[in-house]
Symmetry: C2
Subunit: 360 residues, 2 copies
């Protein structure tokens, strides 16, 4: 990473008896000086070994490593950070963890970061306001993170677009942060287009839409793409029904939709709402896909067990997370921000909830 291709850094000293424990016990911090004394070298040499500097002669290196192991030495990252101004830490700011997408993304971020030996510091923002974000970034500053990944799926209550502190290495997920930032997101528009086109191709007159909540960027984009696909195909655009991502809200929408004569195809903005729709249709005696075709979005693992198995748009959250980390690491390496949008493609998964409409 930041050192020449010499010896690899000694991050993985073989753990001695209770080495990890010693590392966490606060009192007897083993410092470089202790190691240096035992190894009979200067502390600077210990530093060099611990950072994988190439110009330490092999015999010395071995001595130092032996001493490290004997003492259970672990570099203290506080001191390291104080000196270098960097913690090898990526801050993640998020509004909510409870959505499938966010948690999958976070998991990928954590895994990928760990692979590159970066830690993740998590800061939840409770209020979706500029002040809330400012506060989170401020906290990140104190924690001396090297960069920030902001997962911001909802509109701010008090600002039209997201304004982030300038000059910060940051990647924004799933937002309309704007061109000056680095943005990674699922290609929502393309996914929605695929869903709607699929239904249209089956022969449906038009496609109804149960959208996610207004404050969600993803919901907004899916709805926009649904509308434009319909328009481009010269089809009428039915009114939008709005849910809040929950199955219950999908159920409510489904109850209304079932009474809508001429509604033969529905695109739900996510799978959970689609599940609610399925339930409503069932209760109303509408069968899927005979009477109504339904497409979801997300491809949650259970979608194939719905009744019927749900045709849906697969999102690759892991890919989103990985690209975030790659991007941020790139910025850290080159030490400059890199505006630009990365769109992660989606995939239509056709199962049993869609079919051609019944002949009239």
């Amino acid at each position: 990473m930041e050192h020449e291709p010499g010896q690899p850094p000694v991050h993985d000293l073989p753990a001695t008896q209770g080495g990890a424990a010693a590392a966490l016990r606060r009192k007897p911090q083993v410092s470089m000086a202790d190691v240096a004394k035992l190894a009979g070298v200067s502390s600077q040499t210990v530093s060099r070994v611990s950072n994988g500097s190439p110009d330490v002669i092999e015999s010395t290196r071995r001595q130092v490593i032996a001493a490290m192991n004997e003492l259970g030495y672990r570099p203290n990252s506080a001191a390291r950070a104080l000196k270098r101004g960097s913690f090898r830490t990526i801050g993640v700011i998020t509004f909510s963890l409870s959505s499938l997408g966010n948690m999958r993304t976070l998991e990928a971020i954590a895994l990928n970061a760990a692979r590159q030996d970066f830690a993740i510091t998590l800061i939840p923002v409770t209020a979706p306001t500029q002040a809330g974000i400012q506060g989170a970034f401020s906290r990140m500053g104190e924690l001396a993170v090297d960069a920030v990944i902001a997962i911001m799926e909802v509109h701010l209550l008090d600002a039209a677009t997201v304004t982030l502190p300038p000059g910060v290495k940051v990647v924004v997920v799933d937002s309309d942060a704007g061109e000056q930032y680095s943005v990674v997101d699922t290609d929502q528009a393309d996914g929605a287009r695929k869903a709607v086109s699929h239904l249209l191709k089956l022969g449906h007159e038009t496609v109804w839409h149960v959208a996610g909540p207004e404050e969600s960027f993803a919901a907004e984009r899916r709805a926009a793409a649904w509308r434009s696909t319909l328009t481009a195909a010269g089809k009428p655009v039915p009114p939008v029904l709005r849910g809040d991502w929950s199955a219950d809200s999908g159920y409510a929408a489904g109850l209304r939709l079932a009474d809508e004569t001429g509604c033969t195809a529905v695109f739900a903005a996510n799978d959970h709402m689609a599940l609610g729709l399925l339930r409503a249709f069932r209760e109303k005696g509408k069968s899927v896909p005979e009477d109504i075709s339904l497409v979801g979005f997300d491809d949650v693992p259970e979608a194939s067990s719905y009744a019927p198995p749900l045709t849906t748009v697969h999102q690759n959250f892991a890919d989103v997370g990985n690209r975030c980390v790659d991007n941020v690491l790139q910025q850290i390496r080159t030490n400059r921000t890199e505006p630009g949008v990365t769109l992660v493609p989606t995939e239509l998964v056709i199962r049993a909830s869609t079919a051609a409409p019944k002949a009239k």
Copy 2:
């Protein structure tokens, strides 16, 4: 927290123009000395103000705060940590984030920690082995976290029970770490008992069980409680079917169960498998709850939209997370580990997937 009840610490300096940005920009670190110079006091006084020490006279305090704001000063946590040996950070070790429960728990942990002004450092462990855990703890040591919350829902591959570095402030979630550790978990046994009792009370001869994977502690405990409840009631104990938490595995189990004559009640170890069972029963022409009653576990938000709405055992993940943080903070405050088990109660949510068996 660690200071006397004097003035509150000035953690929330009102953000000046781009204050957050300055905090993240690495170059012009504003230090206490700068503030001190501007305010015309010593840096120690700045330190006192920033830590809410009670013995700073009001006028001086105001001056210092004004200077802080003017310069956009943010305390540097690296230096702070180096001095104090503490980062106000809680490490969270987890095997997998992708389960609903872990994620919910993590969210609660993050929120609660943030409330107490602690940050969360996340370290995913890829291999469920002693070495993997050792490595994670080691890393935590380097990062100078104040305590660790370990979410370990699966058995280690290479050790019978979890052995953690001694003397570390740690809370274990969902594991059999043993009496010497602080453990917080959902009361799995009680939840399973509630599910089985409910079915028995409805008049079923016995209850079949679709268990989670063998390596899961939760699965093991639910299965054990299922068995003991059956035995205590003098009912026969059918063979256990085993899934892997996924709806697909539930589907596979359901296909087999549907052919099992005399099977009128099933307890699935989680809701997703129950969903798969539902699908299998439907395909096999068995109706729920008329032919077979089904109870799940977890109470995922969509459970009420399943076909039929699922009777299930509600887990309070938020509570688990909160208790973890409270416990760990307590340990930090008193500076000693506190072994003991905290069980978070569950609740049976009766919906439409259970009924009395048909009269023969």
